[in-house]
Assembly symmetry: C2
Homo-oligomer: 367 residues x 2
């Protein structure tokens, strides 16, 4: 067995049953049949997963480490998640808590092509936190979204992303949206010297997403957003591989909160497959992530890991201008703050509110 690929589960069980349960998970996640019925020696010695550690964490909760054969993954992100959690996702007593990825496999995926440094460089930012806002509500036509984007840009924000609900709808087709918004931001750049980058959201199957990437390229867009759990991890990674000059933001839609630990899925795996920035729900907003989850996720995205570039932790979800100092104290400067609704709620004061957001970040970052 190639050393190194491990799944780390948190399992609800009692002390008398955990060993059997752990072995059952190892079998389920590898050969998925009675081990005593396997005749092949190579399969028995190299493919059947092994329980390498069981450790009690709480009353009724155990951490179980299972060593999997890296050969079972090939180089397919979909097959990696399948091996880590495919059938076990159907068992409600198990959470996929963490994973160890062997160096060779990690290098084959390669992680972010731009990462924190690249996203700073694109917008001429030095060693400070980045800023981002979101175009919404869905339902607006392209020119109305472009007018909002222009205001965000005039306020000095670094990145303007589509709301993840913006897809390829009749009221705002992807191509028309990009054709309206990208030039609007370029006009602001020419007028003010300050570049805000548009990050349109890709949707549909890989064929559609590739077509959208081509459209985005035509209009000079160099950063895109994908929701990997909707697009499929393999499709997301394919876009990254095929477009090394473009940056990718990963959105957490459909990523859940409880079955795969967010620090693993969003911080580690989205990064592994090439997310330059990982959007996630900040603590204390509309979503239920705890400060500990957010901290662990940000650390996973930024950690020294197999020589990969860091992915920018991008907390979002019900954030407000008032929380900027608190968030920067919490996350440090290696982050991107995303405030959407709270800025849009300022309506005719959108430019000023955005400028205040940007100033709060720059003040704190340089302070």
């Amino acid at each position: 067995m190639s050393p190194g690929l491990e799944a780390v589960y948190r399992v609800r069980a009692d002390a008398s049953s955990i060993e059997d349960r752990a072995r059952a998970i190892a079998v389920e996640q590898s050969v998925e049949m009675p081990v005593e019925a396997i005749e092949d020696e190579t399969v028995l010695s190299s493919i059947v997963a092994r329980v390498v550690a069981i450790e009690q964490r709480d009353v009724g909760t155990f951490e179980v480490r299972v060593a999997l054969a890296a050969e079972t993954v090939g180089r397919d992100p979909g097959q990696l998640i399948n091996m880590l959690f495919g059938n076990t996702s159907i068992h409600d007593d198990v959470v996929l808590h963490d994973a160890e990825i062997p160096g060779e496999l990690a290098r084959s995926f390669g992680g972010p092509r731009h990462g924190l440094h690249g996203l700073r460089e694109k917008v001429g930012a030095r060693d400070r936190a980045l800023t981002c806002s979101a175009l919404k509500p869905q339902g607006l036509p392209p020119e109305r979204l472009a007018a909002l984007a222009e205001k965000f840009a005039r306020g000095g924000v670094d990145y303007v992303k589509d709301d993840h609900g913006l897809a390829d709808q009749a009221y705002s087709p992807f191509a028309a949206r990009v054709a309206a918004i990208a030039p609007a931001l370029r006009a602001v750049e020419q007028a003010t010297g300050r570049a805000a980058r548009y990050v349109p959201s890709l949707s549909g199957d890989l064929v559609s997403m590739r077509r959208q990437v081509a459209v985005a390229r035509e209009f000079g867009v160099d950063a895109l957003m994908v929701a990997p759990m909707i697009a499929g991890l393999a499709g997301f990674h394919r876009l990254v591989r095929d477009n090394p000059d473009l940056a990718f933001f990963a959105h957490p839609a459909l990523a859940g909160a409880s079955r795969i630990a967010p620090p693993l899925l969003i911080g580690k795996l989205f990064r592994l497959f090439g997310a330059d920035a990982v959007v996630f729900p900040n603590y204390g907003g509309r979503f239920g992530y705890s400060p500990e989850i957010c901290r662990a996720l940000a650390r996973a995205a930024l950690a020294d890991w197999q020589g990969m570039r860091p992915s920018v932790p991008t907390p979002a979800g019900g954030m407000s201008l008032e929380r900027v100092p608190e968030m920067l104290d919490f996350y440090g400067k290696d982050t991107m703050l995303l405030i959407g609704g709270a800025l849009l709620a300022e309506r005719e004061r959108l430019v000023e509110a955005t400028a205040a957001f940007v100033a709060a970040v720059e003040r704190h970052g340089h302070g």
Copy 2:
């Protein structure tokens, strides 16, 4: 708002907070910003989702119906799940329990291209339950898998599917596997007159899966398996659309059990996007689905619904020969029984065990 697209959630809340919580979900799943900050009349009247019903189900659990605008979906399966559950998947107090799909949207997806009738016809089965087994363990080389497939076929099984762990690994590449197994089954058909159909498992991104489909076609394969939650719902549906002459089995890997109700995800949505058969964990086996969940799932797969063909409910997971009569009593004849490990455990008696499985089904089905 086009009538008809509704998400049905089960929400943990108390009576005093459920109305606010329901409204918050409706906003999260549509415009994702403070409604009072929306100026556009069309967005307010047509795009913001509305809570249409709240009903208490249990102490502390409410059913909440939210009407969404069908225009927000376009015709993209990924965007449909995004609108139904994208951000709300991150909220642990909400389960996506059901969904109403408007007729026009349902027809645009179209459901199974073959369905129950088509899968029976392919194997010359009349009005009886179908039989299926699985090739495993992963790690075996193609010729060893082909030898197993041949035995299943000689035993008279209808469909022989890949274990969902079989991807495109070095020890058993997809193309080599198909090249070994498809002719082996054809040889049995020529010898015995009984056709067993090979159902290889597709993996990777859409580009890889298309390449695999082309290989499968070369070898006369006409049924394929996909795990839609790993492949991405849109990618799965694209394969169905592009290959109306091929049948598709949907595998539940990564589908979970608790955040999206299995009858909805597997029975209804996989069918909607074109699954001719839906594999799911049977009650009383290794997985935790209850009999009620299994019954609801099978009913959803088979129900009269928008003129779509029925998808074959395919219970699996720790099934045994002894349970065949019980399962057929429970599911009726409009089903496909999948027994994998319990047959493989018979080793040198694999042909006989398979024949006994097939005989038990045919006896019951004709009885």
